[in-house]
């Protein structure tokens, strides 16, 4: 789910043409960024329907609110990810980022309710391990989850993730560390040794 390669000059030219009503420029921007936005939304929300809604809303935002994009602060792809993040948070009913350290403690259990109880038939990903990881990612706290998706799956730099989430780079680092810890805990049962122990016990 890496972000598409950025040719800033070409993208800004496309954006300018789109602002003048050039449909082909909008389509070019959409085709460049649609999958990254959809994948981010899918991992964040865990639901294809919500991810499709978020993707649509994000590109409608690109059509109607593109003056909000500041090219000095980052790429169009990162800006779109930020818009998608806000849309996904709204769709999922997530409150604003907590800034109180007490609220930012490992609260993985508090978000277990957000893991969608999908049956095997509802799997989004083909690989079994990938599907386990996707569900585990969906279960960690939202303010850790988005940093984890952006840095570990979308391959955004810390600076870009900071721009998307509206936080500083130090906070990105600390949240990513906590997110990895939570994810590792959730994936522990799938470690080969753990599976071996379970199989012996059963």
């Amino acid at each position: 789910m890496t972000m598409p390669p950025v040719d800033t000059k070409a993208e800004l030219a496309l954006l300018a043409r789109m602002q003048r009503g050039d449909e082909s420029a909008f389509v070019a921007l959409y085709r460049t960024h649609r999958d990254a936005v959809y994948r981010f939304a899918l991992l964040y929300a865990g639901s294809p329907a919500i991810a499709a809604d978020v993707t649509q809303d994000t590109f409608v935002h690109l059509m109607t609110q593109n003056r909000q994009f500041d090219p000095t602060r980052g790429s169009i792809g990162a800006w779109l990810c930020g818009v998608a993040r806000n849309m996904a948070r709204r769709q999922c009913g997530v409150r604003e980022d907590a800034t109180d350290p007490g609220e930012l403690q490992d609260d993985a259990r508090a978000h277990d309710s957000q893991v969608d109880p999908q049956s095997p038939l509802d799997r989004l990903l083909r690989g079994e391990l990938a599907e386990h990881v996707r569900r585990a990612v969906a279960g960690i706290a939202p303010h850790y989850r988005d940093v984890l998706i952006l840095c570990e799956v979308a391959d955004l730099s810390y600076a870009e993730a900071a721009q998307v989430c509206g936080i500083d780079i130090g906070t990105v680092r600390s949240r990513l560390s906590r997110a990895r810890t939570q994810l590792a805990q959730r994936l522990a049962p799938y470690a080969p040794s753990a599976r071996g122990v379970k199989e012996v016990q059963s």
Partner: protein
């Protein structure tokens, strides 16, 4: 071991999520939305004519409503006529037939003693005989006065 499952898991997630694509139907819906937002109607060549005609009509109507009724049809030269009432017809000093045959006559405004009127057979009050009187003199081409009319 936990580190391994974390890294393996993230790698598997990256690999599998790369095969997931946005629904194809989204593009059509978004393009339709884009067209709706940027729909423009071509501007006709003389687009400015109707608003200009409307503005002119309003201006004329406003002027007609506000204009005083007495000033609606001002006659040319009416101010001069009001200040200087028509002095009346000329009094012939020579026979009318001769005056009618005179070519190239001229009218000269002049001022002379009222007593001179007596020379042309016109009545003059003795009390005002010394006062000047303004008159228009009609002269023949050879400079002979043929008619006169008093201005005041």
């Amino acid at each position: 071991m936990t580190h391994d499952v974390l890294e393996d898991g993230l790698a598997a997630l990256r690999r599998d999520i790369a095969e997931v694509h946005a629904p194809a139907a989204l593009e059509g819906a978004l393009v339709a939305r884009f067209r709706q937002q940027h729909r423009r109607f071509p501007r006709p060549d003389f687009w400015w004519l109707p608003p200009l005609a409307l503005a002119a009509t309003l201006a004329i109507a406003s002027w007609m409503v506000r204009m005083p009724h007495g000033a609606q049809q001002p006659a040319v030269g009416s101010a001069t006529a009001a200040a200087e009432p028509d002095p009346g017809p000329f009094l012939a000093l020579r026979p009318i037939e001769r005056i009618a045959l005179e070519p190239g006559m001229t009218v000269v405004e002049t001022e002379f003693p009222r007593a001179l009127l007596a020379d042309w057979g016109l009545p003059v009050a003795p009390d005002h005989a010394g006062e000047p009187v303004r008159a228009e003199m009609l002269y023949s081409a050879d400079g002979e006065p043929v008619a006169v009319r008093l201005i005041n």
